[in-house]
């Protein structure tokens, strides 16, 4: 195509330097935010004012910041849960189901120790360690189902994890509603409240799970950058047949990445229902947190599976969804602004995928003869 003497053409990229990938991701986020501002614009608000309000509440208001950090921790776990299978070329969209089961298992530990009826005598460190282990295990088990089926019979993991989400959703309802074993005795369709000893300790006002997020980031970074297992996962993700010839066992890789991903999503469930101050129960609206975990998919994709970059994106999105909710309340907008944000960011991300694969070359048109050659 030629415009005003300049020749414009597309070229497929063979490789993409890291800083350029980061730039495109940032542009994708900015474009998503622009799309999102259209909602407020349609409601008669200037985007500048709105973003001032959203960011002001999410990051510069002490109450809002607390909510942001709590949501950030949740999104970080959910993103890790997506990233690990994603690096192996597999899609984990089962974060909701995995986190529901993680939460159920953590509450199950307290229930078995007599925490529902107030007879729990175990000490806080013991209870909390058991809860975390249970959450990891339960998430890993349900995640592992998808990995096992993928590895063994090549069953489509997207459909399986989606179906498992619905199964887990109903399992939670069974446990906490209609006289289920975890039901709150007040009968409000939510689970019993955790006793003091089962609540996560706070460090400087934030749940200790924040430290887990940082440690896991380092662990995942090392896994992919330094360890042979991480290398195998990446090789399998890039080119499964070649990896197989190189001695990578596809079955084990599928199972392993889903076990790890599921376990991390289980932690997300543990975090929101057992570690966030003021919650400490499986809320009636637990489905909302399941939906939120799809932000993890966006974080993982936009950071190209890099655990360090993911953290920044998760912090940003956590803040945006909290700030968006607050702005929604103030402006009396419809419910679900944070859902709309999720949709906008995702579609913008997909559109920007183009730049990861192509570059636009603009050259000054030289002599007519060479120009004709291009056309």
């Amino acid at each position: 195509m030629t415009v005003a003497g300049y020749h414009i053409r597309l070229q497929r990229r063979t490789n993409l330097p890291g800083w350029k990938a980061a730039l495109f991701s940032i542009l994708a986020i900015l474009f998503g935010l622009f799309l999102f501002s259209l909602i407020f614009w349609q409601a008669g608000q200037s985007p500048r004012e709105i973003y001032k309000q959203i960011f002001g509440y999410a990051f510069f208001n002490s109450y809002g910041l607390r909510l942001t950090i709590n949501r950030f921790i949740f999104l970080a776990f959910a993103s890790y849960a997506f990233i690990i299978p994603y690096r192996a070329g597999l899609w984990n969209i089962g974060m909701p189901g995995q986190l529901y089961l993680g939460a159920l298992a953590a509450f199950g530990v307290v229930y078995l120790l007599g925490g529902k009826t107030g007879e729990m005598t175990a000490s806080q460190p013991v209870v909390i360690t058991l809860m975390v282990l249970a959450a990891l295990l339960a998430g890993a088990l349900i995640g592992g189902i998808a990995g096992f089926l993928k590895g063994k019979w090549n069953v489509n993991e997207i459909v399986v994890t989606m179906m498992l989400n619905f199964i887990a959703f109903n399992l939670v309802a069974f446990m906490i509603k209609d006289g289920g074993p975890f039901m709150n005795l007040g009968g409000r369709g939510e689970s019993f409240e955790l006793p003091e000893a089962a609540r996560a300790p706070l460090i400087a006002g934030f749940p200790y799970t924040l430290i887990l997020v940082i440690l896991l980031m380092i662990a995942i970074y090392l896994l992919f950058a330094r360890m042979s297992l991480g290398y195998q996962i990446r090789a399998f993700g890039k080119n499964p047949p070649a990896a197989r010839y190189a001695g990578v066992n596809p079955f084990w890789i599928s199972v392993l990445v889903f076990l790890l991903g599921g376990a991390l999503a289980g932690l997300a469930g543990y975090h929101y229902f057992a570690a966030v101050p003021g919650v400490y129960k499986i809320a009636r609206t637990y489905g909302y947190f399941g939906d939120l975990s799809f932000y993890g998919m966006i974080c993982g994709l936009i950071s190209l599976g890099n655990p360090i970059a993911t953290l920044f994106v998760a912090l940003l999105f956590g803040g945006l969804s909290i700030g968006g909710r607050s702005a929604q309340g103030k402006l009396h907008l419809g419910f679900g602004v944070d859902y709309a944000l999720m949709g906008m960011l995702m579609i913008s991300l997909v559109a920007f995928q183009f730049f990861y694969h192509y570059q636009i070359l603009i050259t000054k048109q030289a002599t007519p003869a060479t120009a004709r050659q291009y056309e």
């Binding site: 089926l149 489509n156 997207i158 109903n170 399992l171 998919m297 859902y339 949709g343 995702m346 995928q353």
Partner: protein, 291 residues
């Protein structure tokens, strides 16, 4: 019992509509995992349009229109821009999920229009579904168009050399897939379950996607699978008909999803594949670059 059967067949017709579109789509080599998102959009916007105008016709047209647009969008991403088709499909699903939750929320509740008429208790759409199955089978297997679609899905470079416009054919198929998904969503939201609630499609888009894999890309098998799924779904919604008083309703609600997984395992097994002859379109999911 009759009501139970009719309800199952009506569920089957929705799976069939969505699945047929996806089948043609995949036959041309484009995978669209965003079926759920398109159906959600068709259901939600169709519902809103029908409720505000009071006309079913407008509702269905809006559902079809938004489906075509989203199909076009998927085509633009995956054919023109060369984006990974799974990423694009996932994007369309999350886009649909997020936006319809926001847009539809003020309309939560029943549609409030007179029910659509039925023939002897069953929706006329069911017969339309059967006709569509035959038409799609005929088009794909007995006509020149079908041959073009299939060859584009098997060996796009060869098809291009023999004079077919790969991109154009794929675009048409993706838009057809979008139209069918949007229509299936509208039938769901306007007829099958005319009470809007957020994410009220409950994964039917993903089930339709699973059905396409089940069908080995054969419309008749797709229809058979859809009827099977419709029966299983209704059975698990009405367990008291066959197993009175057994287990909680929440446990029963898990059954259709568990069934879907079991059926998926069965159809992914070597035994099933070799029995029916796997005919996965060769170029499925691979973007085609014109050299």
């Amino acid at each position: 019992m009759l009501a139970f059967l009719i309800r199952s067949l009506e569920a089957a017709m929705i799976f069939t509509f969505a699945g047929l579109g996806e089948l043609v789509d995949q036959r041309s080599g484009v995978l669209n995992v965003g079926l759920e998102g398109i159906m959600l959009f068709g259901a939600t916007l169709g519902f809103i349009a029908a409720q505000t105008t009071g006309s079913y016709l407008v509702g269905f047209l809006v559902g079809i229109g938004i489906g075509a647009l989203l199909g076009l969008l998927h085509g633009f991403f995956s054919i023109t821009l060369g984006v990974d088709q799974v990423v694009s499909g996932m994007g369309i699903w999350i886009f649909g999920f997020g936006m319809t939750t926001y847009i539809g929320n003020p309309y939560t509740g029943p549609l409030g229009l007179e029910r659509l008429p039925t023939w002897f208790g069953i929706s006329p759409f069911f017969f339309l579904a059967i006709i569509m199955v035959a038409v799609v089978w005929f088009l794909l297997n007995k006509t020149g168009w079908g041959l073009s679609i299939r060859s584009v899905g098997e060996q796009p470079s060869v098809a291009e050399v023999s004079g077919l416009k790969v991109a154009r054919i794929r675009y048409l198929c993706v838009i057809f897939g979008g139209v069918m998904a949007g229509f299936a969503g509208a039938v769901y939201g306007l007829y099958y379950n005319p009470v809007w609630n957020y994410n009220f499609l409950m994964g039917w888009g993903f089930i339709s996607l699973a059905l396409v894999f089940f069908s080995m890309w054969n419309p008749y098998l797709l229809f058979g699978g859809a009827v099977l799924f419709g029966l299983l779904w209704q059975l698990s919604l009405n367990p008291q008909m066959f197993f009175p008083g057994l287990a909680s309703r929440y446990i029963w609600r898990m059954v259709p999803f568990a069934m879907t997984i079991l059926v998926l395992i069965l159809i992914s097994s070597k035994w099933f594949r070799s029995r029916w002859g796997a005919t996965t379109p060769e170029a499925l999911g691979k973007p085609y670059y014109k050299e």
